[in-house]
């Protein structure tokens, strides 16, 4: 037996310890983060799989209560794994940070917070840990290039968490209970309100439309390990909340016969679809590889939402699967970019090229990651997308189906771009001395890729697990035999697909290696327009692949104009108040006193 409380507390303590150590020895402190997150992951995985986690709370006072559930465990294992994987990068990045000690502290605190969220038994606990994650992870952001995303992140996260708080308190005022199950009791309009508020909370955290603008800012500008953690780990809190909101609350509303689901779920699905489309479109346009991945994270969040909204066994399994697959793949992608960034100090697509010659392993990792994100076998992303497509087609939701397919195709377009621009293409002279990733960085890269590959070939264990999870929400298990998953319109046999795919790869490799090879030529060993080339200029066009798209729509999302406007309005209001009330003139006060009193004494007559 191992108690959750102990996990959370010892992670916090480890954070403090890492802080103290890193005041003098930042690097040692960052090794501590590796150890601590390893410990958290292994404890959760070991005891969790054996159903041996203890939810009792003795040390943390007051209203903090934990419980074990498959649902929480699933998330906790994934997120702690991501934290563990990313922590390998900390020793390399720690020296760039202004406050290395604080980084180590907040890294582990954020981990503890996420664990707390997933095992929370009542909403207060959930909210406390949710907010802890918000503010600790918030302080990780400004350690990167820019300070401003911190505020953006805070605003959007807080909109989400306050929406949740309001929902929680509202539920409390009606049912008198903070228990997670209490929301199921609600009915009618109050249920709808709580549903909407919780959905907003989930949306905000997941970075779904219209709250997705924080993702590119934060993921694009934070330190690389932090981006990875956000994309693979912390963002998943939103999915967690969305799961609960959508599946546990049943506000009575219009049942849409055509798609076989309730109106509010349909709206969520539509929002998910919009997220997919917008995220994809924006991702295509980005020049910065991290921003690109950030938009891709947003659009993947859209898939998860669509899947949850359809709430059937197959779609929920798809959602769960997608959470795992995306966490693995996007973390791997972010970490691969982080390696490039670490070695070359830039993530701009237009400034890079030919990295495959310097870091082939990183290239492979990135390739596998994007294969998974694009949903191509034999990676995990393929299975999850297959499941989601199955569900969409089954529900006959035309718009959503179009969006999801569009997203899938779009993701080919955008993930290919960094691949071509960063890793392939022309070798750039200024990166001559760039080496492959250091050993410690390779470990998580390889593990993540293998993991992604494994769940793409042998989905059974994951689906077993997710069946247990969806059983907690009252859905039947997804049928599955040794070789395949029983979908609505067919059976998916991942191992077979993988072997076919593997066969293909082998065949191509044989062709590639056996047939006469092309000759490698130097950069100057060519000519263009009848002229020889004497300068090493950039000759490949991967940076401007999608120039036509760029004329179609602006790189900045339209919705961010709305947010800028809101901010400006608040500022204006502030200036208005300052001008009219805080004037430092006594007559203003007197005037208001007179007016209010006049209103009072003549109030009956007027």
């Amino acid at each position: 037996m191992f108690s959750i409380e102990l996990v959370v507390l010892s992670t916090l303590l480890a954070g403090v310890l890492a802080y103290i150590v890193s005041i003098k020895l930042p690097k040692l402190g960052s090794y501590l983060t590796i150890l601590a997150s390893l410990a958290v992951f292994s404890v959760l995985a070991y005891f969790g799989f054996n159903n041996n986690l203890d939810a009792e709370v003795n040390l943390i006072p007051q209203f903090v209560l934990f419980k074990t559930s498959m649902f929480g465990l699933y998330f906790a294992i994934i997120v702690s794994f991501i934290f563990f994987m990313v922590s390998f990068f900390n020793p390399y990045f720690i020296k760039d940070y202004k406050y290395p000690a604080a980084y180590n502290l907040f890294y582990l605190m954020a981990l503890a917070g996420t664990i707390g969220v997933f095992f929370a038994s009542n909403f207060i606990t959930l909210f406390i840990f949710f907010e802890i994650v918000v503010w600790t992870s918030m302080f990780l952001i400004p350690l990167g290039k820019k300070r401003k995303p911190t505020v953006t992140y805070f605003v959007f996260s807080t909109v989400g968490s306050f929406a949740m708080l309001y929902a929680v308190m509202f539920t409390f005022s009606i049912t008198g209970s903070f228990d997670l199950a209490a929301i199921s009791v609600l009915s009618g309009k109050s249920a709808l309100l709580v549903y909407i508020l919780l959905a907003v909370a989930g949306f905000a955290k997941l970075g779904a439309y219209p709250f997705y603008v924080w993702l590119p800012k934060v993921l694009g500008k934070s330190p690389d390990p932090v981006s990875a953690v956000f994309s693979g780990g912390i963002e998943k809190l939103g999915a967690f909340i969305a799961f609960m909101a959508i599946l546990r609350i049943s506000p009575a509303s219009i049942y849409l016969e055509a798609v076989g689901m309730y109106l509010q779920n349909y709206v969520i699905a539509i929002f998910g679809a919009i997220t997919i489309v917008v995220g994809t479109l924006q991702a295509i346009r980005q020049d910065d590889a991290k921003k690109l991945l950030a938009y891709s994270s947003a659009s993947n969040g859209g898939y998860i939402l669509v899947a949850i909204a359809m709430s059937s066994s197959i779609s929920l399994t798809g959602a769960m699967y997608h959470i795992l697959a995306h966490a693995l793949a996007s973390t791997a992608a972010f970490l691969a970019i982080a390696v490039v960034h670490y070695r070359t100090k830039t993530t701009k697509i237009s400034e890079l090229g030919g990295m495959i010659h310097h870091m082939p392993l990183t290239y492979m990792v990135y390739l596998m990651a994007i294969i998974s994100m694009a949903g191509i076998p034999p990676m995990g992303g393929f299975i999850s997308k297959w499941l989601i497509f199955q569900a969409v087609i089954n529900k006959q939701m035309i718009i959503v189906a179009v969006a999801t397919f569009f997203g899938s195709i779009g993701s080919f377009l955008y993930v290919f771009r960094p691949l071509a621009a960063l890793f392939l293409g022309q070798k750039l002279p200024k990166y001559k001395g760039v080496k492959e990733a250091p050993f410690l960085m390779m470990i998580p890269l390889i593990i993540l890729t293998l993991g992604s590959f494994y769940i793409g070939v042998i989905p059974n264990q994951v689906i077993d697990f997710s069946n247990k999870v969806i059983a907690e929400f009252g859905f039947g298990p997804l049928l599955m035999n040794e070789f395949g998953i029983q979908g609505a319109n067919g059976t998916l046999s991942a191992p077979i697909i993988a072997s076919v795919f593997g066969l293909g790869v082998v065949v191509i490799a044989i062709i590639f290696f056996i047939l006469p090879k092309s000759r490698k030529v130097g950069l100057m060993d060519t000519y263009t327009s009848g002229e020889f080339i004497y300068t090493e200029e950039l000759l490949h066009y991967s940076a401007d692949f999608y120039a036509p798209f760029e004329r179609l729509y602006p790189a900045k999302p339209l919705i961010s104009k709305v947010y800028a406007m809101i901010k400006e309005k608040v500022n204006e209001l502030g200036r208005f108040f300052k001008y009219w009330f805080f004037t430092n003139k006594p007559e203003v006060t007197v005037l208001w006193i007179v007016l209010i009193l006049t209103l009072l004494v003549w109030g009956d007559i007027l």
């Binding site: 207060i124 909210f127 406390i128 108040f577 009330f581 009072l600």
Partner: protein, 461 residues
């Protein structure tokens, strides 16, 4: 011990202090120490001045005033100790102010309250006169005088209707004489406005900006921390045991809600650190009074405690910072904490607590406020509070990030070891209370009951 000593000792020392200027500051420190000691030794009860039971002036010591006295005296003491240099010739004023503050918290008589209000007010004018902005202080004086005049007017109307000035007797008399609520609207509104001027409520607070935007650490902590807390507690007692808001509750609620919103929004639009803090203080006091007006005494007291502690930290550090760097533009203060990490830590903790993030005391307070509001089914108010605290969080986070991370040159400032220690202890206190609040909540449990007891017993002995 007789609580009147809390007032008498500082007064005595104040009178003594003008005989010889050399002894003024030592006397101040001794008086503060004595008061802090006394606060922890006085026992609860109703104390008569002159022995005229309910017909004379009484001092009431219940859990409410006891908590207020403890908080205020301790913070007053620390403020003076940590700003010893700025005290200079103000020692006598501070002694009188101490007496006034204690008097406001203790008194159970409406007119006596007015007298102490004036004492505190005049001391406040003098304390703020140190900032070399006579016009701002003059405005404060004018508004303060009008405010207390209106309070007096309301009080005399109330007296003419009920025939008593004893706070414990007002409500019972109103009930006995069956005075209709509409008749009470005018006096209560007048008193509300009168106190509202001092409590920085919105349409009546145009003095705040002028007074606080150029204040040093001593002035700002005293005005925005100690005095504001005292006025809020006094206001709270009146709102919960004397006022019957009845027909004016709508006007009052609108005033308070607008105060809260306007304060936060104005802080959001401000570019100077002291302005940000002072507008935030306005909004906070609006929230505190709002809670009292809704009868939520316990959350209000918790908020007051959280507020005075964090205000102490924020204003002290800001004062020192502005002293050292000679600027209070946030843009030119960027990155100051990178050279003063301890102070920065305390400042950060205080602002996170004000925002209401978990692990800090402010979170517990916010949770309590919302729980109580929702149990009254105040959906709109709680939504407003959330919106407002979102705005608050935004500008505080912005401020924190700017103060921690520099662009270009970083200014430095020196802080005494004592200030560091005190702010750090307060910051740790915010964390400790944020994690383990039980002793505090336990001691607050009895407050509303005890407040009502005095009324039930009609000020009798």
């Amino acid at each position: 011990m007789n609580p009147v000593l809390l007032i008498a000792i500082p007064l005595l020392f104040a009178f003594l202090s003008i005989m010889n200027k050399k002894f003024a500051r030592p006397l101040l420190l001794v008086a503060l120490l004595l008061d802090v000691y006394l606060v922890f030794t006085i026992s609860k009860g109703l104390y008569s001045i002159g022995g005229f039971s309910q017909y004379g002036i009484n001092l009431l010591v219940d859990q409410y005033s006891l908590i207020g006295l403890m908080v205020v005296n301790v913070v007053f003491f620390l403020t003076v100790v940590t700003n010893c240099k700025e005290v200079k010739r103000l020692s006598t004023v501070l002694l009188v102010a101490l007496a006034g503050v204690n008097g406001l918290l203790l008194t159970n008589d409406l007119f006596n309250l007015f007298v102490f209000l004036e004492i505190v007010g005049i001391s406040a004018y003098l304390i703020t006169s140190g900032n070399k902005r006579p016009l701002a202080t003059f405005n404060y004086l004018v508004q303060g005088t009008v405010g207390s005049g209106l309070y007096l007017l309301g009080l005399i109307l109330l007296y003419s209707m009920t025939g008593t000035l004893n706070m414990a007797l007002i409500l019972p008399t109103i009930v006995d004489k069956a005075i209709p609520l509409s008749n009470l609207a005018l006096p209560f509104m007048l008193m509300f406005i009168g106190l509202g001027v001092e409590a920085k409520l919105l349409p009546f607070n145009s003095w705040v900006k002028g007074v606080l935007q150029n204040a040093n650490a001593l002035t700002s902590v005293l005005i925005a921390g100690v005095f504001a807390t005292t006025i809020a507690l006094t206001f709270g007692r009146l709102l919960s045991t004397v006022f019957v808001l009845g027909s004016i509750s709508n006007i009052v609620l609108v005033i308070l809600a607008v105060t809260m919103l306007a304060g936060e929004v104005a802080a959001f639009a401000s570019k100077r650190i002291r302005e940000v803090l002072l507008f935030s203080a306005i909004a906070q006091s609006g929230l505190i009074i709002l809670l009292f007006a809704n009868g939520l005494v316990i959350p209000a007291i918790m908020l007051i405690i959280a507020n005075i502690v964090s205000k102490y930290i924020l204003f002290t550090i800001t004062g020192k910072m502005v002293d050292g760097t000679k600027t209070d533009e946030i843009e030119s203060l960027q990155g100051v904490f990178s050279k003063n990490k301890l102070v920065g830590f305390a400042f950060t903790v205080a602002s996170l607590s004000v925002i209401g993030l978990p692990l800090f005391f402010g979170f517990i307070v916010k949770l309590n406020i919302l729980t109580s509001l929702f149990s009254q089914y105040q959906l709109f108010l709680s939504a407003l509070i959330l919106v407002v605290s979102l705005i608050e969080g935004t500008y505080f986070v912005k401020l924190l990030i700017k103060l921690w991370y520099s662009v270009g040159e970083v200014k430095t400032f020196k802080v005494d070891a004592l200030v560091k220690v005190v702010t750090l202890i307060f910051a740790l206190g915010l964390i400790v209370f944020g994690v383990y609040t039980k002793p505090l909540t336990d001691s607050l449990m009895t407050v509303p009951e005890e407040m009502m007891e005095a009324i039930a017993e009609r000020g009798n002995f």
